[in-house]
Subunit: 764 residues, 2 copies
Amino acid sequence: MTELKIIGKPVARHDAWEKAFGLTKYAADFSMPGMLHAKVLRSPHASARIVSINTGRAERLDGVKAVLTAKDVPKNESVTRFGQTHTVGGGFEGLYRVLADKKVHYVGEAVALVAAETEEIAEQALELIKVEYEPLPGVFDPLEAMKPGAPQVEEGRSNIITHFEVIQGNVEEGFAQADLILENTYRVPFVDHAYLEPESGVAWIDEDGVITLRVSTQVIEHFRGIAEVLNLPHNRVRVIAPYVGGGFGGKEDITVESFIALLTYRTRRPVKLTYTREESILCHSKRHPYVLEYKTGAKKDGRLTVLKARITSDSGAYVYLSPWVLTYSMVTAAGPYRIPHVHVDGYTVLTNNIYTSANRGFGAPQVCFAYESQMDELAGRLGMDPLEIRKINYLAKGESIATGQVLEHHVGLPETTQKAWEALGAKSPGRGKVKVGQGIASGMMSYGRMMFLHDTSRSYVSVEMDGSVTVRAGVQDIGGGQSSSLCQIAAEVLGVPLEDIKVYFGDTALTPLAGTTTATRQLYMSGNATLMAAKEVRQTLLKKAGELLELDPERLDLVDREVVDKEGSGKMLNLTEVVRACASDGLPLYHVALFRAPFRTLTQFKQIEGQVFPDFTYGTHAVEVAVDEETGKAKVLKLVASYDVGRAINRLSVEGQLEGGAIYGMGYGLTEEVVIERGEIKTPSFSEYLLPTAMDVPEVQTIVLESGDGVGPFGAKGVGEPSVNSIAPAIANAVYDAVGVRIRDLPLTPEKVLRAIKQKEKSK
Amino acid sequence: MTELKIIGKPVARHDAWEKAFGLTKYAADFSMPGMLHAKVLRSPHASARIVSINTGRAERLDGVKAVLTAKDVPKNESVTRFGQTHTVGGGFEGLYRVLADKKVHYVGEAVALVAAETEEIAEQALELIKVEYEPLPGVFDPLEAMKPGAPQVEEGRSNIITHFEVIQGNVEEGFAQADLILENTYRVPFVDHAYLEPESGVAWIDEDGVITLRVSTQVIEHFRGIAEVLNLPHNRVRVIAPYVGGGFGGKEDITVESFIALLTYRTRRPVKLTYTREESILCHSKRHPYVLEYKTGAKKDGRLTVLKARITSDSGAYVYLSPWVLTYSMVTAAGPYRIPHVHVDGYTVLTNNIYTSANRGFGAPQVCFAYESQMDELAGRLGMDPLEIRKINYLAKGESIATGQVLEHHVGLPETTQKAWEALGAKSPGRGKVKVGQGIASGMMSYGRMMFLHDTSRSYVSVEMDGSVTVRAGVQDIGGGQSSSLCQIAAEVLGVPLEDIKVYFGDTALTPLAGTTTATRQLYMSGNATLMAAKEVRQTLLKKAGELLELDPERLDLVDREVVDKEGSGKMLNLTEVVRACASDGLPLYHVALFRAPFRTLTQFKQIEGQVFPDFTYGTHAVEVAVDEETGKAKVLKLVASYDVGRAINRLSVEGQLEGGAIYGMGYGLTEEVVIERGEIKTPSFSEYLLPTAMDVPEVQTIVLESGDGVGPFGAKGVGEPSVNSIAPAIANAVYDAVGVRIRDLPLTPEKVLRAIKQKEKSK
């Protein structure tokens, strides 16, 4: 491994052919003989008492095989967990009910389940279930929900799930030192994941009685939660999810799993459930809307002195991952900046809105919009260049963020910023009422999980008798090439061509557990586990080869299915000769490696202190935007994504992630919003919920910097989520540059921009 | 583990319920959507040149998707291998052709394959394939085939595949010392495996292009051989075979695998092939018929002085496992007896008969019939009790067999013999022409593979977060409870009830490789691997529990899902508490253990010397037989199977194996024979090939002795094959006792017995 041969190359993924030809099977493509179809009866009320449920007529409908309500769920109160460890504590685990029992808490909450011979019969049966509701007052605004006397979403429990703090220095002192103080409130909306494959799955009972699910999930380890709902031992549930048609955090929580498992357990027949697009938008989690009250102080020379911020997050009707999303926001609330005095208060609050949980970025894009808008406005007020004010405040390796976490690895922001800006080039000329502006924004986001989650992953690498290699890993491939990068790592270490690698992934029975495919953690975690496992096998091979060749194994390398002497004696062996010699000696040509992220045990869950994440990924977006002053419509003309990725394992995949992330972030900046009024979603389809289309997407230029200083394999960092982070503020900053209006409320719809332009003109 | 709680108990197998209710799926039960059906065109000639094959009309038949001949097979010459190691050498690997090319070598050899939309169309297509043959002379008797000038079965190759020798002392000297010399020739027939599930399988291509087979095999590791036939990397073939509907060695070689893999690879569609019963009898391997020329010498007091033997085995038209079957015969040719001077010559010879290969007992029952008939006749000639002559000659622990292998473990034959005889009780009275006799025979047979095969097995044990346990092992469950005993071992070591164990088995992708499920090796090999893996996890748990309880882990035990202090401090913990604490620390609660049998590298393959097997299982059969002097029909009235099993892991399973083995051996003794005339099988169905039916089966009394001195887990020995060994000679000895005729030619059909009685009467 003196010189990398496969790592860093822009190679085709192992599944490229199958995907291009439509052969790849997703959960929604999966069927079983004798399969029933499920449908879910959902609450039309945001808050109501369930007086009675009568399922008799539905049960008697021909072709209906089961109708289940809360009373049929062995353990109806479930919690969202984080893979293998249960040590989080804090008392605010993400409790939720599988089926509503006494009350409904949001529009769309599941009340009853039907399994029938056809989808049509299941639909008819839903209409025959009679539920009597007694409407109750609800609360729909988190700030309202925090007030004393507000209706309680969960009876007997405060709506405030948690109050977190980050404190550094003394903000009073900071404000005293400031020459300029800037105070603004920002708002970001509910956002849908809008994956290609909606929530879907098939469950069946295998011949040994194991409840087996092929589902679209990012967390096969939910087998435990599903088993608990059914009151079965964990090992009686198997979850299979290799290819997932998009996750974006929306498949981190359980979606269809408990429903189909319950129906299969009852009927002993396979059961399938795929949400309609409308159901997906109306009934499954969203990205948290935030209210971000930011008060920042700076010296005349641009040096930041203070940040006081208050962040309020709408958790919707159930807790799910809200406290952890807020944690991410807290840690990066001050951005990648050196600020001596910081005090951030964060709240996440129950309301009777749709519940909110993980979404690509996990709390980071919300605060990035605030801190990068603030930076731009500060630059303007101080008459500084927006790049300059950032550069003088960027943290450097060895310095610490407001929690006290020391940045132990390279902080590449000066380079990412400079390169992004240079790539953007001279501003294009405007035309008439169409004005052009440029904007920049930087961000930091962790990869890997919070250290107090005690994260681990396992990977199983084995060499076959002909030298071909099998990797088994519990990752899901949600489109990021999670499985392909493991192939590259194994091929590099074992000196075989990529086509000699076969990877099995995403099956709790078949693959060792790798934890969740979330938190931009799989390249870091399972990549390192695969590296460890492959190195162990490599060592066994080289040791045996050394014996056979009578050479020090240190001199030997594995290259192209051969063992070669790096010191040029010309001695060599075919890989298969060494493999056979190892087999004869009964030497293990496999290894299951366990990679442990650095651990830390938290003793309190209020003030977020010290080391929270293993490392961060840093990057900058630069955009050029044209704003039509007559319509208010902003259009991105150029987009540059510039990131220090540590090491690009597969350059094509990295570029793909940076491009995809940028467009995902662009939608957040310009068009995407789940509009909710008193708990009712008004944007139930892609006609109202507006994703960027091919027509809206500019060419994205990606700049891939490789400091080699990440904690992933070969120095890689994760980019899946960080790639989304700073697009929206870069657009807002460019809009300001173009037309002089600052929008502090995402998305930057034509209506908002136009209103601001009009207002600005009026106040002239 | 101070006192065994689950090991040794007569517990129900994990799959008992599913099997009782017919829910268990075998390969023949398996179907896939869009599946094609395969048929095989077979040679009607025992020896012929293939002049031409015309497949045109068959290909044009509606619904035919592929017609393949030898030219379509990427690598047509394949070898039978022994799992992971390829180190056998000897130059007589079991070469065979997937499809006949220039010649056919036996009646039933596969010549062409068809895949079609239905079985009926495939059958029709077979009739449309035109093969022109030019018949050649054949050879059908191994003794003829050994003669110079005999037709060569494989052109350019001697018909004698191998000549093995076992030599100890000097037989001339031995004969000089003998007071009595007894010389006889014994013959044993071709025997069919007669499994409930015939050879069967379905192949398909998974979405990643892996050729996947659900087949009825004892060797999932044939994935390598199948890959080589297709010229693919090994990791592009996956073989799945958990439940097998009977193997008896007949599913140790490849049967349908290459055929369905080739057809699937060509058509890209799933393909199924299940042999008809006739096809199974006519075209797949049989147990080797032997000619056994035995010359034994003894002193007046019964002490054996010498054995000179010559064994000739009919390999049929291909080598397959014939040399290895012969090896087993060579090692135990002298039986479990102390004989100072031994010379055994063994030959296995190609003929144009159906090929022969593994069958339960693997060469041991053939020689046992000879040596135990000889012992009985010696006793008679010397006027000794048949038990007595055996007892004075039985080898004891510490002594060695003729190869020089020292018997390092308890030789329980004095006990098994005494108990068997006592259990048989006083002889029942005869009635008129029906005479009653009693007979006894003992045997030894290895369990585990020959040491120069460098045998290894792996097992993967993991503990889930709720304390339930998963075992993954590459064993096939061929009905012996192979998977269930692993559950017991894991439950015992980890202190959880049996119902908390889930076992996944028999899948090259899902389970670590365990080697073949043959050679009575899985309890020994995978049992030990499971024991090792479970102990490793146990140690992790107890160490952590020790920390939590502040007690020396040595004091702790795992009992019923709890950690308890054996020294009675009363301190305890739930298993799940310890599991969670381990997970928090990132301690691995899984282990993949590798068990290595003792190894030995052979330098020559002629004289079989020294240590060949890890250990042997010893046992005795005692039978009472009624012989009708008018019809010659012998009927077993009582049957006692008395074995030292080392340790009964599951008493019910051990008794089941001893009962099943006894009946299997009874068929060998009395009725079973595949009759072949000039290469043509005359017994193509169960109307001609006579298995013992429920009406023929006496009550079998089993005596299970536990010396605790086996090399398997908890001191267990294997019993699957040894249980067959000595029934046939016990019956022959009892027939002699009843009517005074000695039949030296199995099976003891009424015709043979009657002829012998008539001859004896005539010679009076």
